[in-house]
Amino acid sequence: MKNIKYIYIALTAIILTSCVNDLDVSPIDPDSNNASTVFSTEEGTKGALAKIYSSFAYNGQGDGAEEIQGLREDFGNFLRQYFLLQECTTEEAIVAWDDQTIKNFHYHTWQPNDVFNDAVYSRLFFSVALANEFLRNVGNAAVSDEDKVLFAAEARFLRAFAYSIGVDFYGNIPIIDENSSLSDLPVQSTRAEVFSYVETELTEIESLLAAPQTNEYGRVDRTAAWMLLGKLYLNAEVFIGEDRYSDALTYTNQVIGSGYALDPVYENVFKADNNNSPEIIFPLVFNGVHSQSHGTTFIVQSSSGGGLDVANVRGVGGSGWGGFRAVKELPEKFGLTEGDFSLANPLANIADSRALFYFNSNDAWEWSVENVGTFTEGVGVYKYSNLNSDGSQAEYYNPDFVSIDFPVFRLADAYLMYAEIFLRGGGGDANTARGYINDLRQRAYGDASGNITNADLTLDFILEERGREFYWEAQRRTDLIRFGKYSSGSYVWEWKGNSQTGTGFDDYRALFPIPAAQITANPNLLQNDGYTN
């Protein structure tokens, strides 16, 4: 009888101790993976590398989960928000939407707690974290030793690319490399230190990257590193107050000599089959079926609408989202006026084939933007199209998503950089500069009618020409700052500085604020000058 007590106690003891071990779990999901499973195959390793590239292009993993928290999945797309911050802060774009603080960029009234600015900052550092994670693991990857070196160099390039945008947008930010750990509270570096970090990284990996035009399409080669160095030095006066124009020239020349060529047709650089374009040095790759993301799709859809023949002009189904358009100062750079458009000809038709504008007088369009929230005030832009160069349907056609690759770097930029460096005293010669510009203008005009002479070569002309050549390519804000026109009261456009006719605004806004959320999360961070919190 008494035994039962002991049996009971013994059994109880067994149950208790065994069950505590149940608490040691590991994921049971058949799809669960970790670093060692991912890097155990070449495909997995390239997939991890692809993730760093796509971090600049895609919304996320395609599962609908927000990769950047605080915003809808598609709003966390880097290219989309990079476009917003680089274009809507200038005369090139304005948005009618009511999404949170989206209009503030054109008003120049953004605050440190702005969600879009937070998304860009967070996305840049997310890319940095991905690159660091890749670098920590690539040594053990199941790939050849050559590929280990090459992949690592590309990861470092992408990290440097993220930091180069960081130098431009935020200036003073923490440098986080592959030796950092989750528990570290990152320490802020100065803008000069970040500049120098990017410079050192790029010079170190220059020789480790693939030789020009020898890598797979979609992955960068040395030319991309030279281009990034060239741009870094070109902007050095803004970034660190130093004249580095001769360094800029060195790398610009290397880019020009690396074998890339101008696409014979300007428009084809922005078409669905632009992966065949000889001009693109660093593309962000999109595929209408297999990358249903809001990068170039966003640029096309958000600027389609208001009566535009969307299917035949933009190559997508539906009627577009509408909402993004240029203020009149952009088409006016091409000499266009409201009178150049008519009911019969809502698409601009002038000698300069780069003027891809749309204005529908039938649909209550107004040339001037009186009410920012009205979709049909301002001028439509149809620069990007999801049709192939020959007008046929894109290979991976999807009515909602486009297959246009985004040209981060293209050769034409190096041509205009050369001319600008020459004018800023970095070396080179006037005839070569003029020649490069006329190469672009001849492509645009189809003949020599738009050519310029050496006398036309001025910095003001370069800024205008960069507007005509690179509008809607997410370059304008950086250009305006470099030319001293960004916040200036003497160079205005509609709604600049939160005024309908345009006005100057405080110079400190040349840098975006460190997101308030980051300052809260990390007491090591100090806010950029001028911002109040």
Binding site: M1, I4, L11, T12, I15, L23, V25, S26, D29, P30, N33, N34, A35, V38, G47, A48, S54, Y58, Q61, G62, D63, E67, Q69, F75, W97, D98, D99, Q100, N104, Q111, N113, F125, F126, A129, P174, S180, L182, D184, R219, V285, N287, V289, H290, S291, G305, A311, S319, G320, N362, A364, N371, F375, N498, A516, A517, Q518, I519, T520, A521, N522
Partner: protein, 1002 residues
């Protein structure tokens, strides 16, 4: 784990056999006394009654005829006890025959209160515990358990469910203790704690339990009562006990049924076809374009999608006892139709309860099995919003339409559907088939064994399970305009299998030590729970291509599990029957956390003083009870994310719609996932003080409670320094939150005599909520993070969580008005004085009220005269602010015409604002949502004899959601949305329901 079950079962079995053998060897001596024990009321013999010699363990049990016999000495006192009857003590004297009639113990049910892992006499309760039994439940056509409790308990806010059949309603006990984690209370059904996980295809997991099977709800409100449930108890605990058979009871059959009709109370005010034609002509920029799009019809789209919904509900139960085995079995069938066309829930429930007692009542089994089969038709609730937006000048059908013959907005260029246009609401319902079938069973075997050699000691083993299977399909007609863009999701299926298992084992020692006038009750035990779920989601187009491949088809399988292991103990000590102390301690281990954070300790202590029992008050006849209570306790919260492995690093692969191309080859992207190795539970510390009283022969009773709850290590999705982890926000333990408030309950019998009774119950609750810390580091400039996403634009949020303010405080711009009191579009108070577009500057926003009520009052009353009775229950909510999102997103002239070429109806609220463009962040849309809702009014008549003496019946008529009194301009200010509290979006409207009920007892 399977092995453990086998072990425990064999252990119990072995124990049983041994005990049966040992009990037969009792030695007899002295005189023989025998007799029959009868039911005083019916005169029938009761088998299984314990007849024990007082002060010993010597005794006998009556046989099938109610007879017993045993050896006793002279002048022995026999203790005759049986569950459900009043225990009697009888001095044998020199008699040899002692027959006893036992009377029902009417007070017993109310006198024992179920608490975690045991029960306690009501008088010995030290915490804030409220038990509501079936007499007090809400009346009407009630399909979910939550509705029974609505407005009945102070401090417990049950939001009225939406109109969706079987729809969910949120329960909040004393406000929410969490920001990011679940604020749902832990619900324990017959000893089985349910998971709070949402089950795909099953809107309201608690609907597993048929409300007709519920005997009592016991609400444990303060931590001294809930801490025994440790890491899941921060939001209170609700213990549901189902009805059981009673020993000695004759078989009773009861039928309960009702037929009801739910009708729409009101519609959202939009323009009729004729009005719309005028509005479009007057308020669009270019009427030459817009008026050309108008149709010639007058379609009331809301009336096209809503209907009067007729529902029926039938329940049959059989209750009784076979020898010493009370039983109850029931079958329920509910056929509930929703007001939205097609929406429907058909549910069959089965429940079986057996409580056999063996070995003179020393070994008691309590077996409960509940099963449920539900067929849901979710219709397409997108049609709710569409019906208020669709152009009323268009007709439903268009013979030339290739999209199933429904009028559809198309792109002019190619005739494809304009996908940003509103879909035809009737087509949305008819061309979609979204159904699910859910099978769920919850059951347990509770074995309680009182050791014969130590009767004060009881060993309890409770084995429980909760299994569910949900299979759903969500199919879209291939002709449907809204399927045109994504035919690959036309056929969607999902399949969920959940298996949760439970083992509790505990010992209870209860002894009265008369020498020191003390009573001690000690419980110590162990609990193990396993939660497992697997899901399969698949989608494909209707047709395969030539190669037999379904383009774009996809199947994903997810599996996840977690464990919870706990040790717990409780001591109740009573001195002189007046001074009570309870202490509990629980140690919980959760597999969700890393080894170093896995274990949490949750203590509590409470004291109570039966002041009324003191000699100086005992003489006050008017005072029946006066008790003062105070308690302190710590509880936890481990329901933190859907992710069961938040502390473990992992990678995930991208789907086929997010592949990256290198050299024309597509690669699955591999992404490292964010994780937080330091994540752990939230801890909530509660203090509670209360008074219970009862006066004038218990005619008026009530209680008062004050509490303060402080949550620390508050889980919140907070910004983390980017660049080291793989996210910009991570859910981690940071921040603090306070809830404090008080509650008053009063219950009075105004009239109480043989023919007439009138009872009034009222409860008052006031809760104040305040965030006291939100971030890891103090940052005076941090304003908080936005919450409360609205419809309209993307990610627009109108609320904020800020330190020093209640959760979800409205945070908006202050509207400027003209002399006539009309709001001026786009003009706001310039708080910063910086000028320009005021709403272009976030710093111009103001803190403006919050969705939680200042206080709430629940009111109910029941009047009975002879066989007639009348009752009602209602709720008053004061000071809850509502953001009218229907007005802000639909009351805009800009919505009339979309540049892609379609028209939309708008809310007539536009006449109040005259706004052309959206002004989402204007405080113009904040309204006082105070309301009084009459939840139900019911009248009934009892027929004591129908056809014969053995049959009684009852007929009742009830109006549910009878009326609402409010100044709110929208449809209904009571918002049932945990993520966006106080934001009135397109919700399934609540019907007014007329119910005819019948009840037969055989």
């Amino acid at each position: 784990m399977k092995n453990y079950y086998q072990l425990v079962f064999s252990m119990l079995f072995g124990m049983g056999v041994l005990l049966i053998l040992s009990s037969s060897s009792a030695i007899a001596q002295g005189n023989m006394v025998s007799g029959t024990i009868k039911d005083a009321e019916s005169g029938e013999a009761i088998p299984g009654v314990n007849v024990i010699v007082k002060g010993t363990s010597n005794g006998a049990v009556t046989d099938i005829d109610g007879n017993y016999s045993l050896q006793v000495e002279e002048n022995t006192v026999l203790v005759i006890s049986y569950v459900g009857f009043e225990t009697q003590e009888i001095n044998v004297g020199s008699r040899t025959t002692v027959d006893v009639s036992l009377g029902y113990d009417v007070s017993q049910l109310g006198e024992v209160v179920v608490i975690g892992y045991g029960e306690v006499d009501r008088g010995d309760v030290t915490g804030s515990v409220v038990a509501i039994d079936s007499d007090d439940f809400n009346k009407g056509a009630i399909s979910t358990p939550q509705e029974l409790l609505m407005g009945k308990v102070a401090g417990v806010v049950v939001t009225a469910p939406t109109g969706q059949p079987g729809g969910n309603s949120t329960i909040r006990i004393r406000g929410g203790s969490s920001l990011r984690a679940s604020n749902d209370p832990l619900i324990v059904v017959d000893g089985v704690p349910l998971t709070n996980k949402t089950i795909d295809g099953f809107a309201n997991p608690l609907a597993t339990v048929n409300p007709n099977d519920i005997e009592t709800f016991t609400v444990l409100k303060d931590a001294s009562a809930t801490a025994i449930y440790g890491s899941r108890a921060s939001n209170g605990v609700i213990i549901i006990t189902t009805k059981k058979g009673k020993s000695g009871q004759d078989m009773k059959v009861s039928y309960n049924g009702n037929i009801s009709v739910g009708v729409p109370i009101d519609y959202t005010d939009v323009y009729s076809g004729d009005e719309f034609r005028q509005v479009v002509a007057d308020h669009t920029i270019d009427p030459s374009i817009t008026t050309a799009l108008l149709g010639s019809d007058n379609t009331d789209w809301q009336k096209k999608v809503y209907r009067n919904a007729i529902s029926t509900d039938h329940n049959v139960s059989v209750t009784g006892a076979i020898d010493a085995m009370p039983y109850r079995a029931s079958v329920g069938y509910t056929n509930q139709n929703g007001m939205l066309e097609d929406s429907k829930m058909e549910r069959t429930t089965l429940s079986l309860g057996l409580s056999p007692s063996l070995l003179n009542g020393d070994l008691i089994f309590d077996v409960n099995i509940k099963g449920m089969l539900t067929d849901n038709n979710f219709s397409n609730d997108g049609a709710i919003g569409a019906s208020t937006s669709f152009d009323p000048t268009q007709s439903v059908y268009d013979e030339s339409s290739p999209y199933g013959g429904y009028f559809t907005w198309v792109n002019e260029v190619d005739g494809t559907p304009n996908f940003i246009a509103t879909d035809n609401p009737v087509a949305m319902i008819n061309q979609k088939n979204n159904t699910s079938q859910v099978l769920r069973s919850i059951g347990n075997v509770n074995t309680s064994y009182r050791l014969p050699f130590l009767p004060e000691l009881k060993a309890v083993v409770n084995l429980g399970y909760d299994y569910y299977k949900s299979e759903g399909t969500d199919n879209t007609d291939s002709l449907a305009a809204f399927s045109h863009r994504s035919p690959q999701t036309n056929v969607k299926t999902y399949d969920v299998l959940g298996k949760n298992e439970l083992l509790d084992a505990y010992l209870n020692y209860s002894k009265e030590i008369t020498s020191i006038d003390s009573k001690i009750d000690v419980t110590a035990g162990y609990s193990w729970q396993h939660f497992y779920e697997e899901k399969e989601n698949a989608n494909r187009p209707w047709l395969a291509d030539d190669t037999g491949e379904y383009i774009g088809s996809d199947t994903t399988i997810d599996k996840t599990e977690s464990y919870l292991v706990s040790f717990f103990g409780r001591v109740n000590y009573t001195f002189k029957g007046r001074y009570l102390v309870t202490g509990t301690l629980r140690r919980d281990g959760s597999s969700k956390f890393s080894e170093s954070n896995r274990w949490g300790l949750f203590p509590s202590v409470a004291v109570a003083w039966q002041v009324g029992e003191e000699s100086f008050l005992k003489t006050v006849n008017a005072l029946n009870e006066l008790k003062v209570r105070a308690g302190y306790g710590v509880t936890g919260q481990q329901d933190i994310t859907d992710n069961d492995y938040p502390a473990i690093a992992g990678y995930n692969g991208s789907t086929s719609t997010s592949l990256y191309g290198f050299g024309g080859q597509l690669y699955t992207q591999w992404k490292p996932l964010a994780y937080d190795p330091n994540i752990k539970w939230e801890e909530t510390t509660t203090i509670n003080a209360g008074i219970d009283f009862s006066i004038l022969e218990n005619r008026i009773s009530g209680s008062f409670d004050y509490y303060k709850r402080t949550t620390d290590d508050l889980l919140n999705e907070i910004p983390v320094p980017v660049g080291t982890n793989f996210a910009n926000r991570v859910v981690t333990n940071v921040g603090s939150l306070e809830n404090q408030g008080y509650e008053i309950s009063l219950n009075g019998y105004v009239i109480s005599n043989e023919d007439m009774s009138w009872q009034i119950g009222a409860n008052f609750s006031k809760n104040e909520n305040k965030i006291t810390k939100l971030t890891a580091f103090d940052d005076p400039n941090y304003i908080g993070y936005e919450a409360g996403e609205i419809d309209g634009g993307s990610n627009n949020r109108v609320q904020i969580n800020s330190v020093g303010y209640p959760t979800n405080t409205f945070y908006l711009y202050k509207q400027v008005y003209n002399e006539d009191g009309m709001p001026i579009e786009g003009l706001y108070v310039d708080k910063t004085g910086e000028g320009g577009q005021v709403d272009g500057n976030d710093l111009n926003r103001y803190y403006l009220g919050n969705p939680a009520p200042d206080f709430m009052i629940g009111l109910s009353s029941r009047f009975a005269y002879k066989n007639f009775d009348f009752s009602f229950a209602g709720r008053l909510s004061v000071g809850n602010d509502v953001y009218n999102n229907i007005a802000s997103s639909k009351g805009l002239y800009a919505n009339l015409y979309n540049q892609s070429g379609y028209l939309s109806n708008i809310s007539t609220f536009v006449e109040e604002s005259q706004f052309f463009n959206a002004q989402y962040k204007s405080d113009f849309y904040i309204e006082d949502g105070s309301f009084f809702r009459m939840d139900n009014i019911s009248a009934g008549y009892n027929f004591p004899k129908v056809f014969s003496d053995k049959i009684s019946a009852r007929v009742s008529f009830t109006v549910q959601n009878a009326f609402i009194i409010t100044n709110y301009s929208g449809l209904d200010p009571e918002i049932n949305d945990a993520l966006a509290p106080g934001i009135d979006k397109n919700v399934y409207p609540r019907p007014r329901t007329y119910v005819l009920g019948v009840n037969f007892n055989f």
